[in-house]
Symmetry: C2
Subunit: 244 residues, 2 copies
DNA sequence: AAGTGGTCTAGACCACCTT
DNA sequence: AGGTGGTCTAGACCACTTC
């Protein structure tokens, strides 16, 4: 025990164990009770060490089963490429450009008309909105929650009401309706997940998420969509590019 | 105790207490031992509840003193505005555009020549680099670590070697040296802080940070700076804008 | 049924801040 | 010196997974 609290020391040892190339990456760590004996510590101290590794995204803990090394390379999210007119203009779903090696797929979609919360209504200029809630997964793992708000008066009766808005996605449909999105602003925060988000993304309170709020505006300055996204922080690298 | 584990229930109660407008925001919460009695729980259970509030950025915990409500509005970081040529071209330090109400100030600067780590050397095309390490604070609170790497062959002998690179900052100096940055790419991750970062930013392991790696390129495609930043996640809202 | 992680207890002692 | 949070112990019982 060189320095620092014992639980950090144990966490450091466990990191070494996990990174050992000779180890089978699929086998779980020893159970907590065994680790407690191995490192001559109380069970709660071992738990605290493991909670560190978990927050780092180094391991996945499965209740009733064990603690597993996470084999997980982050997904690249290139904001500019994803939203270039070329992408949606040519009939690609924007998410198809979001993959690295693995495929980001849509796990669920729910669409309905609602009263917008205050901060959304303020941006869109109306309380009557269509809400599109989606959940995206990679390798069966939920990685992103996305909720889009669109003015009801614009989208009512269009294909945007359907769960599958058709080729090119909702931006292509908006363009056809005469409201082509032209400029985007994305506000981003790194924060801890709410209890709901923890459950949906299957992460713990200490596991960071990125919240992205995107506003899409037409050339004449009307905001036609607000998209609130919550990403598993460890699962993504986000990228923006721009010129001076 | 409606639902969920007791520590979440206690955390929920404490959030209510903290948000009570009639409460003096400067007085700390009751000590852990008192809370344990109040909520009829063991001290460790109360601690777990408080660690939630802490990770959320709702409270600041001062060892030996108490648990205090954090009065803290996030700083807006507008990437595009900060890096427009107008900003640095006209002699403004880029950080002057980064303030909301409060002032983001430079707390320390260290400049020296070093061997670049592998991933940096790869981007800059050389191992000989000038490293500029800065720490930024708001209201005496550290909020950002920034480390810039620049090719030694370009900046040697210039004002960029000095702790104060002069009006307009290092981008203005680079422009004067014939290497005006023209395009930027920022890669962003939400993650947990390393032990070093925890100490420097005075945050805990569960408190999220945003890591931004920016590459600055000249018009002819040469990468002339790599800037690695680590931001206190709760302290910032980051903003990017772009067109389709 | 057996084994795993998740929660919780009821303390002890240490490190740090305030007075 | 006294009070605060930080670490740690040595268990108990519950919830979930696996066989």
């Amino acid at each position: 025990m060189a320095d620092g609290p014992k639980y950090r020391e144990i966490a450091a040892r466990l990191r070494e164990v996990l990174k050992d190339p000779k180890r089978d990456p699929a086998t779980p760590l020893d159970p907590e009770r065994v680790l407690a004996e191995t490192y001559n510590a109380a069970p709660t101290t071992v738990r605290k060490a493991i909670s560190l590794l978990r927050a780092e995204g180094l391991v996945d803990v499965v209740h009733g089963s064990g603690v597993y090394l996470r084999a997980w390379k982050p997904i690249l999210r290139d904001a500019n490429a994803r939203l270039s007119a070329q992408q949606w203009g040519e009939g690609k779903a924007i998410w198809e450009s979001d993959l690295g090696d693995r495929l980001v797929t849509l796990a669920s979609v729910a669409v309905q008309y609602e009263q917008a919360p205050e901060h959304i209504a303020h941006l869109l200029g109306t309380e009557d909105v269509l809400v599109r809630r989606r959940l995206y997964v990679v390798d069966k793992r939920p990685v992103q929650i996305a909720v889009s708000y669109l003015p009801a008066e614009i989208v009512r009766g269009s294909q945007i009401e359907r769960r599958d808005p058709g080729p090119g996605g909702i931006y292509k449909r908006l363009a056809e309706l005469g409201y082509a999105p032209e400029s985007f602003v994305e506000d981003v925060r790194a924060r801890t997940p709410s209890p709901d988000e923890q459950q949906t993304l299957r992460i713990t309170a200490g596991h960071p998420v990125a919240e992205i709020v995107r506003r899409a505006r037409t050339a004449d300055g009307r905001t036609v969509e607000v998209n609130e996204m919550v990403l598993d922080g460890e699962a993504y690298i986000m990228q923006w590019s721009f010129t001076s």
